[in-house]
Assembly symmetry: C2
Homo-oligomer: 115 residues x 2
């Protein structure tokens, strides 16, 4: 068993093409022996966003703080604390901070996304 506060986990910049002012913490992942899926925590600064992209695996997202939108193709859906987002494999998506404080969310992925 491993117990830690999420802010104790090192924060890394997300340098992927299309990402602006995003950072990630790998809260639980393959390095912990997690056999199936990984828990990451994203911080998106004011006016920042994740890449608009698609991939063959899902996201399971929970919004912790802040507000923003998630793009689903060309459609925007508002996001607030406590919202849950299931992004199915191969869906075009992007998370954007439209508020005035950091947008923080959990985003879990299957281990196939970790290599």
């Amino acid at each position: 068993m491993k117990v830690r506060h999420y802010e104790q986990v090192q924060q890394e910049s997300v340098d992927m093409d299309g990402a602006e002012q995003c950072s990630i913490r790998w809260l639980i992942g393959p390095d912990d022996g997690a056999p199936n899926f990984a828990m990451r925590q994203f911080d998106v600064a004011v006016e920042g966003h994740t890449p608009k992209h698609t991939h063959p695996y899902e996201h399971e997202v929970f919004v912790l703080e802040g507000s923003g939108v998630v793009l689903h193709g060309e459609t925007e859906r508002p996001l607030q604390r406590g919202d849950v987002v299931f992004v199915a494999p191969n869906e075009v998506h992007q998370f954007r901070n439209t508020g005035d404080v950091p947008l923080k969310f959990l985003c879990l992925v299957p281990n196939v996304a970790c290599s």
Copy 2:
């Protein structure tokens, strides 16, 4: 893509042996087409607890509100908002509310736990 607030999801009592004053919401699961793992949200009332048990799959947990402890075998670890817990397969564990408000956490499991 599916977007919903967690409180919109129906809450069900956890009737498993050893559970006291626990409820669960299945935020994302096989019914949504989630291919690999499920996101559930637990509420444990004051003085309540989950079963002390073990199973052959992991938990990935994030504490949303409240305070309590997680038992790891016979050892208690304190829990507060923002804490992350990785319970490896076959580890004995139990979540207990030791505070004076509901203990709320996310607990994700691989789909093998959903059948």
